[in-house]
Subunit: 195 residues, 2 copies
């Protein structure tokens, strides 16, 4: 009986929508861990890094009362940058957090072309850009520097594989420890690579 409401919902949801929803839930968990870590870094005066709001195109707004505006029609839009940015040790930090259920590789389909371009732009300006990639089944997270992402992104454009092998993360990227506070110790990984 406990599962009844969930099952009831599920039977009205198309199959590919279920996948999306479950992916979204997993995504939310990793995202929440990063957000909590950012709060910790902020409270300790270590770094100021925030998640950008989800980009939404607002079409229609109602005013049920003078004080409150209710958005009644809006749509998700494709983000033009990455999800996270901020400052650490005087440096501009910019990254996207992604997770994959694959145990063998990270598909480049997880990233948008303009997000890669954005990371290129900020790297050119002297910023630190990367991806945090979480392998859910292994419970492992890696910091993938833009330089390595770029290598595989350009390779894929020239007909090479459209994913980054898990072994590349193990051998060439920096492992991000999971802890109690912060939950995702990615600042330590930044220290190792960029300072």
């Amino acid at each position: 009986m406990i599962n009844f409401p969930i099952k009831k919902t599920a039977q009205f949801v198309p199959i590919n929508k279920q996948v999306t929803n479950s992916k979204a839930r997993l995504g939310m968990l990793f995202e929440e861990m990063i957000n909590a870590s950012n709060q910790f870094y902020l409270a300790k005066g270590i770094a100021v890094i925030h998640k950008k709001p989800t980009p939404v195109k607002i079409v229609k707004v109602d005013y049920p009362s003078r004080q409150h505006a209710r958005i009644v029609e809006a749509y998700y839009t494709v983000p033009s940058t990455t999800d996270y940015n901020g400052i650490y040790r005087g440096k501009y930090i910019d990254f996207e957090a992604k997770e994959t259920s694959s145990t063998t590789s990270f598909s480049l389909r997880n990233i948008h072309e303009h997000q890669v371009r954005h990371l290129a732009d900020i790297t050119l300006q002297g910023g630190i850009g990367f991806l945090l990639v979480h392998f859910t089944s292994k419970q492992e997270t890696y910091l993938l520097p833009y330089s390595i992402l770029k290598e595989y992104w350009e390779g894929a454009k020239h007909g090479e594989r459209k994913s980054i092998p898990y072994q590349v993360f193990v051998t060439r990227c920096t492992s991000v420890k999971h802890g109690f506070q912060p939950q995702v110790e990615y600042i330590k990984a930044i220290d190792e690579i960029y300072f």
Copy 2:
């Protein structure tokens, strides 16, 4: 007859809502000028600065088709940071754009406490934080460095005036030129103050 639809809408809108809407429209214009300037700076490889999406709390989403999600209930939420951030000459840049129809002062009510705290946080980390204040009736824009904002913000807390006089902008802040491209030349003002 041309104005009829506008008038019709107006008569159903409470007076203070009209003010809000007209302020929102003015705000949008200055915001659009900054966004266009940012596109110019980006295209020229001068700076990478983006506006963050409007923060919205999404409550209910419908799926009219498999491909499209339609948000049918959402609310505006108070932003926890400023509207704009990015990188210029290797430095982290962070600012809020505000405009006022006043000719004599800029009211501190235009800013949230946590936005001031955010500017304090990023300044501590070595970032460049400020407000771009546009006096609509004068068509003048000024870069108000966090240091001066802080002075008046703390003064207001201790019972002093809750606004910054226009003369302070003229005498102590840096004027931001308006041009064709970029429309708001705030990078030049950053150069003058911070480099």
